[in-house]
Symmetry: C2
Amino acid sequence: MDVRTEISPSEAGTILTVDLEAIVANWQTLRMVCGEAECGAVVKADAYGLGLNPVVKALYEAGCKTFFVAHAFEGRATRAIAPLATIYVLNGMRPNTAPLYADFNLIPVLCSVPEIEDFGQYCAVSKRRTPEGGLLPAAFRLETGLHQLGLKPYDLEHGSHLSHLFDVRLIMTQLARVKHEAVITKQIELFEAMRTTKYAHVPASIAHSGAIFLEANPLYDLVRPGYALYGGNPVPGRPNPMKPVVRLESQVIQVRILEPGERVGEDQSWVARGPRRICTISAGFGDGIPQSLTKTKNGAGGFVISQGKRCPYIGSVGMDLVAVDTSDSGYVERGDIVELIGPTITIDDFAAAAGISGYEALTGLGQRCHRRYQKL
Amino acid sequence: MDVRTEISPSEAGTILTVDLEAIVANWQTLRMVCGEAECGAVVKADAYGLGLNPVVKALYEAGCKTFFVAHAFEGRATRAIAPLATIYVLNGMRPNTAPLYADFNLIPVLCSVPEIEDFGQYCAVSKRRTPEGGLLPAAFRLETGLHQLGLKPYDLEHGSHLSHLFDVRLIMTQLARVKHEAVITKQIELFEAMRTTKYAHVPASIAHSGAIFLEANPLYDLVRPGYALYGGNPVPGRPNPMKPVVRLESQVIQVRILEPGERVGEDQSWVARGPRRICTISAGFGDGIPQSLTKTKNGAGGFVISQGKRCPYIGSVGMDLVAVDTSDSGYVERGDIVELIGPTITIDDFAAAAGISGYEALTGLGQRCHRRYQKL
């Protein structure tokens, strides 16, 4: 069932509003910050859960020429929307998938010697060429300190013996999170040392959303923001330079006055300390609301906004329901809308209250919501 | 983009196998345990993330006659697969949605006086009837201690003045989690007191997956298991009476030997204490792998299974990548398959390692996987 497109606003438990103009504005802001470097866009995981098709369409029409995805199937979906874009597939190349890259004009980011051998062999045997008649394109991902994925110096040396079989268009690496600035500095030194051995003339890319704002950081030729495009703060602890992109709302199903001592939720964790006015809203972990938002007892977790007031989540987050304490809000009734994420509660606030990263929170939203694309 | 159906196994980061025969077997087990009571099936949130269409089809063909969903749109999807089934919509009735219930022959579970008034008014004004010519059906949800949703005794008294406008087919309540057995006992007393005022002749339903196995618990006329159908353990702390239903697998992208002192992941949290053999697998929080699986330092979180050996997650879980320490496993190479959930690591184990509920873990899976339906 792909219920998403069939959900009308009136029957939806949650409504996710995505502001495509804000995504484009964020991309333009990042492009300005980046100066000479080209600004691409990371649209993996369904554009961080916000919808690959509309996001790619908006950015492509705004002039974005380069997209990054994790998987070949995401690359194919991007190609359908952006026929002339450059599309890099970051997660390496699975065995037996080389033809897909040629068929859809996707660029594999080769991460290991076996991948280089695999793709090189395919290029040699198939003799396939780009539409312009050149060798098939590829990129190299260098390992500079995260030890997750990429070529070490000896891998690069080894792999370079096969690199005449394809056209190396980009040299890249993945940096640590911005708070590890000393680590990033070392990563850049290593990256610089590796690329200058043989690939100094090849365009380079290292900067994710956060790294774009690190002042000492070289941006090279191409930057690849993701989270910042979608309104997440790329510089934690400092004011967010990005526009908010998402609003998540839900409906009040029921209003209930509780007496002191009454408990709320399947886990019976929350106890009314005095008379409280509780609302149950039509949202739960089935909508991407983490159960950890209420893990701390008696409301020290997250909040929703009802009539401009912060109302804490209470009890346990169910699959479809969660209660909030609206005692300090105004008159509330069935059908009223509350804000879970939006102008007041940013995606970073929401994630922090749940004890998870903003990336994870954003990507988990909206599988069951009514999703609409309009200006916030 | 609905990428799910387009993802071939060779290019997928994760493969989710759902055993529909096991779901049916679990339903039959539950039906036996329930004796005289009818056994329905809860299929909300896309059948706990496993696919509403195939799950409803399998259960309907096996003889399941009653389905529970949270939202009207889920009810419509269920109706398309199960033309003659009884379908209850649990999350109350949104304003202005009453006609949907009549159009698709769905039964609203009315949770508050405003909902009763709303539905009663619709029935009176529209004069709509069931295909058999009777009043439109409805159910009442009673509030017995969770304080999330349902009618208190005075609401039921009030609402009963309108209940001649529709046909009350079911009286239900939602019980606390099974570890709160004393709470459940009190809930049942209250439920019993409320239903006997006027609705003693109406079929009743109280039991979720866990409550079915509470020995002192009356099951009334209709039980509504969810999590247990999908292989989750309904009796935490005791052997799981259900068959496993899901397997989640991923591919090894890269194998890397680390030297002592080298760190892994964007957050640099994990440090190799000696020479280690690390694999990066093509799965991350974009696939429903919670970042909290590696929150504890140096591998005290979750595990994957590689060649029969438990290999801890290390570093941080990225959107698309996570590293595991395969030093104690056999020879591993690019393209090898590891088990994230399956015969060895149950959905309950996986969730416990991440510090979340099995319900939340299950529902979060598989938005980006290749999903296949076959026997485990």
